[in-house]
């Protein structure tokens, strides 16, 4: 397998009146073509910001790239010109979002929004722009392919007339419009009812399989990630702390934070075990802890943890961890 996306030493800061917050502090990760990668972490750990970086969606200012590279199909996305970035959006990299209610335009019909996306992608690619009617026909077939009944009626409706699950399917259909290679899903099920969550997750898995998509799924919910991804990256306060195959991570987490995350998940089969929380709260990124950013909350922390930042190292084949004390 070849690497589709390689992120190296990526640092992103948000500048504000109170100073500069190191939101992403040296991210290193790789996604193989055709693989599924999940990114898990508490809210505020920078996973959504990372996802948006792939499409150049972080508003700047306040966002400022401090260093690093994001290579997609060999090209560095961070140095891409705006026009080149637009040519990627939708056609190579597509994105689905957290709350479908707020990510669809309330005053435009579904047809208009889908046609504009399709025609915009045509224009960015520099080829002929499809006529509205052709774009609508494409939109019609896309809605059908995500399992939505009566696409014609759907196209004429407005977002507020649809249920949450339908809206998310519409957004997924829009993401598929340009036949992308990489699908970035940012908390795609968080705002949905539990029963709908499962349907949407199954739909994403099906699309990934049928279309040979590469998936980057972001969630704070380890269960969601484990269900859809072969590999998991655990993020904490803007850093990658562990990177492992799903099964290996769930059975034998190496980083204390990953261990804490897994212990915090309630187990339906064994309700007598009370899930354990991780003491403390996520640190301020304006003045992050020295050394390992997790050390103030870690029960294994030593003087070294406060002084020296642990590097992400390959501890076992295919497993990387950033902890001074991790042992195989």
């Amino acid at each position: 397998m070849t690497a589709l996306l390689e992120i190296e030493e990526y640092r992103l800061a948000f500048d504000s009146f109170d100073g500069s917050a190191a939101v992403l502090d040296g991210i290193d990760l790789t996604i193989e073509a055709g693989s599924t990668l999940g990114i898990v972490g508490e809210s505020g750990c920078g996973k959504s910001v990372l996802a948006r970086s792939l499409l150049g969606l972080n508003p700047s200012p306040p966002a400022r790239v401090a260093s690093g590279q994001i290579r997609f199909e060999g090209r560095d996305l961070l140095t891409l010109r705006p026009a080149a970035m637009r040519a990627l959006r939708g056609r190579r990299i597509a994105m689905i979002f957290q709350d479908p209610a707020s990510y669809l335009n309330p005053v435009l019909s579904i047809a208009t929004q889908m046609e504009d996306a399709i025609r915009g992608q045509d224009a960015a690619a520099g080829g002929a722009v499809r006529a509205r009617r052709a774009a609508r026909a494409h939109a019609h077939s896309l809605l059908g392919s995500v399992g939505l009944p009566d696409p014609a009626r759907l196209l004429a409706s407005y977002p507020h007339q649809l249920s949450g699950g339908m809206r998310q399917r519409v957004l997924i259909a829009m993401a598929l419009a340009g036949d992308p290679t990489l699908l970035v899903a940012d908390e795609p099920t968080t705002a949905l009812d539990v029963t709908v969550q499962a349907q949407v997750l199954a739909l994403i898995a099906e699309l990934v399989r049928d279309r040979g998509l590469t998936l980057m799924l972001i969630s704070h919910d380890l269960g969601v990630i484990a269900a859809a991804c072969a590999r998991i990256v655990v993020m904490y306060a803007g850093t990658v702390v562990e990177d492992a195959p799903t099964r290996a991570l769930l059975e034998h987490p190496l980083h204390p934070y990953a261990q804490g995350l897994i212990a915090a998940v309630p187990d339906l089969d064994r309700p007598e075990i009370t899930p354990r929380g991780i003491p403390g709260s996520i640190p301020s990124l304006l003045s992050p802890p020295s050394g390992c950013r997790f050390h103030p909350r870690c029960d294994r922390a030593t003087a070294r943890c406060a002084a020296e930042k642990p590097l992400l190292r390959e501890l076992l084949p295919g497993r990387r961890v950033a902890c001074h004390h991790a042992t195989p």
Binding site: M95, F97, Y103, N105, V107, L108, D116, G120
Partner: protein, 339 residues
């Protein structure tokens, strides 16, 4: 779903009716709290005691206030606003005669305000915190801060007496015969009658007052539109539209602007109402023969039936404008369409 809209409509129109009644009460109260004796005013400055008493009986001013009020409402219902002392004509006739000139001025000023204000608002929102944004901010506050009468005088000094490009004041040269009225709006009539030279001349007279009248309105539209655009451009659905590859042009002009236009529309309606009130200043500076000039010259003469007439018209116009805005909101926002 239609029932919801009908109910909303009925409620809104009912409210407007109530406001109209209130407005009539207000003008009646103002007329009656005046320390000056309306009978003395009606009888004229040289009238003796007996003539004043006669006028009092003639106008029903000796009757108790509730009866006077009923009579006032009844007169208004028949389009009878009373008689102007200065012109000697019925105020209703005068208003009909002066209103088209004011409307024409307001329509042109509103066109300028919208056509310049909305694009500038969009531009400064897109280029937020850039040099253009800073310049338009000062420009916008200037529109609200600059005294219209002074701005008018400056423009007259520059373009009329200074450069000699445009006439100083009036609606048309005394030498030119205005077109036979069809709509009462002279520029429109000139076009309809094919009198292009009259149209050009009319345009040269109206352009300065229209610019002055449009400035505060333009400034408000610009500010509101910019603010709304800044908010909208931060919205999640705009991020999504970018991610999906919608072209920047279409994203700004349709996806964002359509959302920002709703509050902008509200300010346009409000400003249309206020504009007719600002005409008192602009028409005075440019000797524009509209209801504003009519109100001011009557007020100075202490002739307040015309002033009340203009107040009623301006208030009525204001109410209709806000009514139309509310109804348009229902049409433009699909979420409201279903009540």
């Amino acid at each position: 779903m239609d029932r919801g809209l009908t109910l909303y409509l009925a409620r809104r129109i009912g409210l407007a009716g109530l406001m109209l009644f209130g407005l009539i009460c207000l003008t009646f109260v103002i007329s009656n709290v005046a320390p000056s004796d309306p009978a003395a005013l009606a009888a004229g400055p040289d009238a003796g005691r007996s003539q004043i008493e006669q006028a009092r009986r003639e106008y029903g001013l000796d009757k108790p206030l509730p009866e006077q009020f009923l009579r006032y409402v009844g007169d208004l219902a028949q389009g009878e606003f009373g008689r102007s002392i200065a012109t000697g004509r019925s105020v209703g006739t005068d208003l009909l005669r002066y209103l088209p000139a004011t409307l024409e001025l307001c329509i042109l000023a509103m066109l300028i305000g919208v056509l310049v204000g909305v694009p500038l608002g969009v531009l400064s929102a897109v280029l937020k915190d850039g040099p253009i944004d800073h310049v338009t901010r000062i420009f916008a506050v200037s529109g609200i801060a600059m005294p219209p009468f002074w701005f008018g005088l400056l423009l007259q000094l520059a373009f009329a007496t200074g450069l000699g490009w445009l006439p100083t004041s009036g609606r048309l040269s005394v030498m030119t015969l205005p077109p036979d009225p069809i709509t009462g709006l002279m520029l429109v009539d000139a076009v309809l009658r094919g009198q292009w030279d009259v149209f050009r001349e009319g345009l040269s007279y109206i352009i300065l007052p229209a610019i002055v009248l449009s400035f505060p309105c333009l400034a408000s539209i610009l500010r509101v539109n910019r603010g709304e655009m800044v908010e909208t451009l931060r919205a999640d659905y705009i991020t999504a539209a970018r991610a999906h590859g919608v072209t920047p042009w279409r994203m700004i002009c349709v996806h964002a602007l359509r959302n920002a236009m709703l509050p902008t529309l509200a300010i346009i309606g409000l400003r249309w109402g206020w504009m007719m009130s600002s005409t008192v200043l602009v028409e005075t500076v440019f000797d524009w023969p509209g209801i504003g000039l009519y109100a001011v010259s009557s007020a100075i003469a202490g002739d307040f039936k015309p002033v009340m007439g203009v107040t009623l018209i301006v208030g009525l116009n204001f109410m209709i404008a806000s009514l139309i805005v509310d109804l348009l909101y229902g049409v433009l926002d699909p979420r409201l369409r279903e009540g």
